[in-house]
């Protein structure tokens, strides 16, 4: 029995030793750029997840499903004949409003209840959204959604920068994500409202005493988080195919949650960096030849499991053990 396991482990490791590393290093810039493009999608979802966690202490497992909702809203808008930028803006606005509605209808009333109940409510909402999208698609088209995709904008051919050929859509993606992430950093750390959000996250009651309207700030946070994940979702949908289970799938929501956790839950920079790292690692292992399919298809997953087990506090942790 033990011999089998050892043999299997050796077999899994051999491809890493016999790899043509020089060829791999020549391709490295290419791999990194493609990895960053994936990583920024994870980063955007993780950003929304961490934003809600930081501001309201709610762990929102519906974030991936809100992203999925945005994809299907985009699909609907596209079916109506909207060009790609209208699809994007329309989905962001509609899903942002949906996020506000979620807070107004559900989470506002959960303030002060046990955190466990709130977490489970988010899981149930994700579940309802996912199955609801299935049912609505069935209602409209008579069949369940299959592998769908949004048509990407036509931005011309591959561009070559410093010998690295890049898809112009990836440039749009990275630039858009960077603008959103930097803009939100600025918003949270420099503006009055951002600092109020931070204050209410540290101590709700004290923030109330200081005259901060915690309730409407929370609604704002939910709107922002939903809009960000809608942005991520539309970018995702334009570059890959998706199904209604993308919110909790290995290529979608789960990676983002995991990135948020290994980034040290509650740290925005950490979440973004971890998501980028995840994208690059995932892409890197995929390009190696001869790796066992179980490893190459789940490289990101294995990386996450290793990081969580070795360093569960996250790579860029903010949380220490609670003291009295």
């Amino acid at each position: 029995m033990g011999g089998h396991v050892l043999e299997a482990m050796l077999e899994a490791l051999t491809p890493f030793l016999t790899q043509d590393w020089i060829a791999v290093f020549n391709d490295l810039p290419q791999i990194i750029v493609a990895g960053l493009a994936t990583g920024f999608q994870y980063a955007l979802i993780a950003f929304g997840f961490v934003l809600i966690y930081r501001a309201t202490e709610t762990v929102n497992f519906a974030q991936g499903d809100i992203m999925m909702l945005a994809m299907f809203v985009g699909l609907g808008l596209q079916a109506l004949g909207a060009p790609w930028y209208f699809v994007m803006i329309g989905a962001i606005i509609l899903v942002g409003l949906f996020g506000a509605g979620l807070d107004l209808l559900v989470f506002r009333h959960m303030a002060g209840q046990s955190p466990l109940a709130t977490v489970i409510i988010t899981i149930a909402i994700g579940f309802v959204l996912r199955l609801g999208v299935d049912a609505v698609t069935y209602f409209m088209q008579g069949k369940f959604p299959q592998e769908e995709s949004l048509s990407p904008p036509d931005l011309g051919d591959q561009i070559s920068i410093l010998g690295v050929s890049i898809d112009p859509f990836d440039i749009l993606l990275i630039a858009g994500a960077l603008i959103v992430v930097i803009g939100l950093f600025f918003f949270l750390s420099r503006t009055r409202m951002g600092i109020a959000i931070q204050a209410s996250s540290q101590n709700q009651l004290a923030a109330y005493y200081q005259g901060i309207n915690v309730r409407s700030l929370n609604t704002l946070v939910w709107t922002l988080a939903a809009a960000i994940s809608a942005f991520a979702g539309i970018l995702f949908a334009m570059s890959k195919t998706f199904t209604s289970s993308v919110g909790l799938s290995l290529t979608g929501g789960i990676m983002a949650y995991a990135a948020a956790v290994i980034g040290g839950l509650g740290s925005l920079q950490g979440a973004v960096l971890a998501a980028l790292m995840l994208g690059v690692v995932d892409n890197f292992v995929k390009t190696l030849s001869g790796v066992h399919p179980l490893i190459s298809a789940n490289a990101g997953l294995i990386f996450l499991l290793i990081v969580i087990i070795v360093k569960p506090s996250g790579l860029f942790s903010q949380t220490q053990a609670k003291k009295v």
Binding site: V59, H109, S114, F127, A135, K322
Partner: protein
């Protein structure tokens, strides 16, 4: 209202506190034990029996999850993994030639240990890490099962019958079954049919006895040192730690316990479905299990069973029945309304949506689930004209961050 006169200290910690408990337990156990006999007598079809067994299996698994989520306050998003690991582990051991009874006890033991081992490092920080890890773990397990050639890879494998003609159960059960049904001992086909249904009934009693065993374990857990420790962790980690509780060890222990019970349920489920495939590990199973626990009521032993009954009733009995009903109505000239209603109830997954929506409503209006409603009704009748609406009022608290800069 019943007045209890306590005559010894044992009265405080007895498992069955007074005659009412004994009568109620005996009543429900007898009801459950006689149900298959009634089914056979009334000629109820095999699908209904399958649904009832499914309720028992989900109750077992939800009880396991209740230890983790209800008592210890940790969320596992990947409990379906242990469910599937139980099925795979059992049948792998059987394939290796391990005797049935031995592997039936060995599988939950190994998987419980496994649950402890994966929870131990991840629980050092917050509970969210555990939720995410279990989720990742479940996805990895699913991929790994797809690559596991010995166990059929992506297609999975068929399971043998739960009990064969040589088993002791068959000798006990066959005379009863033969007396109750139109059974001709000379007819070979009848004998075969009887053998097949006997295997189903054996599965029913196996699952029922396991459920009773699990409930007994849970009841003892709650009034033991371990159970009190777990509940203390749920209520306040800081105070539990101050009292000298090793948080990490006890949380992992509850994870291991619930993994073992989940594996036990998985073994029965593999026999009930008749096949096992990697698709059975999907996260819908895991989330449904979590929702079952919540619907029933976190932190109560009744809750797991209430939740499982609600789920199976909604998902597998009510909605298909409604679809059939409206279909029949449409066929008898019910017109447009009946047709569209029939079409509506035929949408796959509608039961799941309604179940999840029910969870939302319950969490909103009754965060402690159906069990709280049960308790309130009980209190209403006990204190009949004097029941106050505010008796079970919940205390709210404001958030304070756990992140210290």
């Amino acid at each position: 209202m019943k007045f209890l006169f306590k005559q010894s200290y044992d009265d405080d910690i007895k498992l069955l506190k007074h005659s009412g408990y004994i009568r109620a337990s005996a009543f429900f156990f007898l009801l459950a034990a006689l149900l298959p006999i009634y089914f056979m007598w009334a000629g109820v079809d095999a699908t209904t029996l399958k649904h009832v067994i499914h309720i028992l299996i989900l109750s077992i698994c939800a009880s396991g999850l209740m230890i983790l989520t209800g008592f210890t306050g940790q969320v596992s998003l990947g409990h379906g993994a242990f469910f599937a690991l139980g099925a795979y582990g059992m049948h792998f051991l059987l394939k290796m030639g391990v005797p049935w009874h031995f592997s039936f006890f060995l599988t939950p033991l190994i998987i419980g240990l496994f649950g402890y081992i994966i929870a131990r490092p991840t629980l050092r920080m917050s509970g969210v890490t555990l939720a995410i890890t279990t989720l990742l773990f479940m996805l990895f397990i699913e991929q790994a099962f797809k690559q596991w050639g010995v166990m059929g890879g992506g297609n999975g494998f068929k399971t043998p019958k739960f009990s064969d003609k040589e088993s002791w159960f068959f000798f006990v059960f066959q005379p009863i079954a033969a007396a109750l049904t139109d059974h001709d001992p000379e007819n070979r086909r009848d004998v075969l049919l009887l053998a097949r249904s006997a295997s189903k009934y054996a599965l029913y009693y196996g699952a029922l006895l396991t459920l009773v065993f699990v409930i007994w374990i849970m009841n003892n857990l709650v009034r033991s040192r371990l159970g009190r420790t777990l509940i203390a962790i749920r209520d306040s980690e800081v105070s539990a730690r101050s009292m000298g509780v090793h948080l990490n060890h006890y949380k992992s222990l509850s994870m291991g316990l619930s993994a073992a019970i989940g594996a036990l349920a998985g073994i029965f489920n593999s026999y009930n479905d008749g096949f096992v495939s990697p698709e059975s590990v999907n996260f819908i199973t895991s989330i449904v299990l979590l929702l079952i626990v919540v619907v029933g009521g976190l932190g109560s032993i009744h809750g797991a069973i209430f939740g499982a009954i609600t789920y199976v009733f909604l998902r597998e009995i009510l909605f298909p029945e409604l679809a059939d009903f409206f279909q029949a109505w449409a066929n008898n000239g019910g017109g447009q309304v009946a047709e569209s209603l029939a079409w509506f109830f035929n949408i796959g997954g509608l039961g799941d949506i309604f179940f999840a929506a029910l969870v939302l409503l319950i969490l909103f209006y009754e965060p402690l689930g159906l069990y709280a409603r049960w308790k309130k009704t009980e209190a209403f009748f006990q204190t009949f004209p004097f029941y106050r609406a505010g008796t079970f009022k919940r205390q709210r608290s404001y958030n304070k961050t756990e992140r210290l800069k």
